[in-house]
Amino acid sequence: MTWRDAAVPLAIFALLAIAPFAGFGQGHSLTLLARAMIFGMAAISLSLIVGGAGLVSLGHAAMLGVGAYTVVVLDHARITEGWMVVPIAIAASAAFAAVTGAIAIRTSGVHFIMITLAFGQMAFFATSSLALYGGDDGYTLYSRTELFGTRALEGRLFFHFTCLALLILCWALVQALLASRFGRVLRAARENETRARAVGFEPYRYRLVAYAIAGAIGGLAGVLLANGTEFVAPAYVTWQRSGDLLFMVILGGAAGPHGALMGALAFILVEEWLAHVTEHWRLIFGPLLILCVYYMRGGIAGLLRRG
C-alpha cells in the first residue's frame, strides 16, 4: 500500500473523528454518521469477497442479520454483556458464512450470485418466522450491549468513537489480509484461476476462509447496527439491503477496502440528503446510481486516482 492509497481513508477517519466537535454533534447527525460507519464496515467486509476474491455476493445482509439477531437472542436470554455478545455474534456469523459459503463457493459467476441470494432469502424468512423475537414486527432492545457491566455504549459520543475505532480496525484488517500471502493467493485466483491452480493452489479453501472472515466482520457490523437503532427487524436481512451493500462496493470502486468505505459513506449521506429534499427521493436516487455506474467506471476511488 502506498501513502497515496492510505491518504484518502486516513483523511476520512480524521473527518469522522472531528465531526462531533465540528457541528455534527447533535443526536440526529451522530445517528446518521454511526449508520454510515456501520455500513462502511459491512461494505469493507463485502469488498473482501467482491474485490478480493472476485465473488459477487447478493446475500451479504444476512451476515449483518445473523450478528444483529444474535444480540436479540442473547438479549431475550438476559445476556447483554459485550464480552459475551460480541464474540458469540462474530462466531455465529462466521459459522453461517462458512456453512453457506462451503456450498456457494463451489459455483461462480451468476450461479454464485443466485445461491447467495437464496441463502439471504432463507435468512430473511427465518427471521420473519421467529415469533419469539417479534417475527415481522421486529424486536426492540431494552438496552444496548453492556461493556463490563457499564452502559457506556448508551453515550452517543462513546458509541460514535466505538464505531469509528472498529471501522478503522476492519479497514486495517482487510488491507493487511489483501497484502498477505493469503491475499496474494486470493487476488491471483481472481485474476487468473488456472494460473493459481497451475502453481499448486486450490482457490476454494482460500475463498472459503475469506468468505468466513467477511461474514465475521459483517456480524460485528450487525451488532453495532442493532445497538445503534436499539431495534432489530427482518428488514435488515432483505435482499435489497444486500443490493445496497453491493452497490456501495461498486460505487466506491472495488479496488480495495477504501473504495468500499467511500462508497458506503457516499451512499448513506446522499440517500439521507435526498430524503430531506423530497419525499420522492428514490426517483432521483435510482437514476443517480445508474449515472454513477455509467460514468465512473473505477468508482469514487477511480475518480480520485485520476484527479
Binding site: 493487511a176 500471502r181 491471483a188 497451475a198 486450490e202
Partner: protein, 248 residues
C-alpha cells in the same frame, strides 16, 4: 522413468482427442511432441497436467499414479506447465507472478498479516528464476505490459520457480519473434540437465535442435516415436506431417 502415459483415451462426444496414447519420458530428457493441428497434442498436455480427466488410461508421475489428482496437487508434486495461450496474472508485477509460485512451495499460504511483498526469501528466489530467463530487469513491471515474448519468458520463470521435476511446455515459441525465439531456445537447452521436458512445438528446426526424442501424433494416435534421426527418416512421418522440404 519420470513420466509414463499408459493407454490414455479421451473423446469429446464423437470427436477423438487422444486415442490410446502411451509415452514415456526420462529425467534429463527433452521429449518433443509434434503433429498437425487437431492431432490431440494440447488435449494430451491437459490430461498430463490434470486440467482434463482421461476417459481411460493412466498417468504415472515419478512412480505414482496421479491420474485422479487435481492440477494443483500435481503441481505440488513437481509437475509444471506452461500454456499455449500465455497464462499469467496480469495485475501482478513480473516479480509477484513468480513469487506466487515460490510461495506455493514455501510453507503455508494461510498467513494473514505479514505483507507478502516484503518477504525477502520469496522475492530472492523469484528474482533468481527471473534472472534465469533473462527477465530480471523487468521485475517491477506489471505483467500486463510485458511484450509477448517477455510474457512467454515470464511463464517459463514461473514454471522454474516451482522447482519442478517435469516441465510441460505447450508451444513456448508460438508468436515470438526470431530473436526472442532464439533466446528462449537457449534457455530451454540449458534447462535440459535438470528437468524432464515434454515439449509441444510447431517450429520444426527448434524441435530437431532441442529434442532427444520425438513422438508424432496424428488424429489422437502416436504414429511414430524415436530419436531425431529415426523420425527424420521415417517414411510415414514424412508423408503424414513433415513434408519433403522440412525433412530434407
Amino acid at each position: 522413468m519420470l513420466l509414463e502415459l499408459r493407454h490414455l483415451r479421451k473423446a469429446f462426444g464423437g470427436l477423438v482427442g487422444t486415442d490410446d496414447v502411451s509415452l514415456d519420458l526420462r529425467q534429463g530428457e527433452i521429449h518433443a511432441l509434434i503433429g498437425p493441428n487437431g492431432a490431440g497434442k494440447t488435449t494430451l498436455i491437459h490430461q498430463i497436467s490434470g486440467t482434463l480427466a482421461p476417459d481411460s488410461g493412466q498417468v504415472v508421475f515419478a512412480g505414482e499414479d496421479v491420474t485422479r489428482l487435481s492440477l494443483a496437487r500435481r503441481a505440488r508434486r513437481g509437475l509444471a506447465r506452461s500454456f499455449q495461450i500465455t497464462s499469467i496474472v496480469p495485475g501482478f508485477s513480473a516479480l509477484e507472478n513468480v513469487a506466487l509460485a515460490v510461495q506455493a512451495r514455501s510453507g503455508s499460504s494461510f498467513r494473514f498479516f505479514r505483507p507478502a511483498g516484503n518477504e525477502a526469501t520469496l522475492n530472492g528466489q523469484a528474482m533468481e528464476a527471473l534472472a534465469e530467463v533473462g527477465l530480471e530487469r523487468r521485475a517491477a513491471v506489471p505483467a500486463s505490459v510485458l511484450s509477448h515474448g517477455e510474457k512467454r519468458q515470464l511463464e517459463l520463470a514461473i514454471a522454474l520457480a516451482m522447482r519442478p521435476r517435469l516441465l510441460l511446455l505447450d508451444e513456448p515459441l508460438a508468436g515470438t519473434g526470431a530473436e526472442e525465439a532464439e533466446r528462449l531456445m537457449r534457455i530451454l537447452g540449458g534447462l535440459r540437465a535438470r528437468y524432464g521436458i515434454l515439449l509441444i512445438e510447431h517450429d520444426m528446426p527448434a524441435v530437431f535442435a532441442l529434442a532427444d526424442r520425438i513422438s508424432v501424433l496424428a488424429q489422437g494416435r502416436v504414429i511414430a516415436s524415436g530419436t531425431r534421426e529415426e523420425i527424420r527418416a521415417n517414411p510415414i512421418v514424412r508423408d503424414a506431417y513433415l513434408g519433403e522440404d522440412e525433412a530434407a
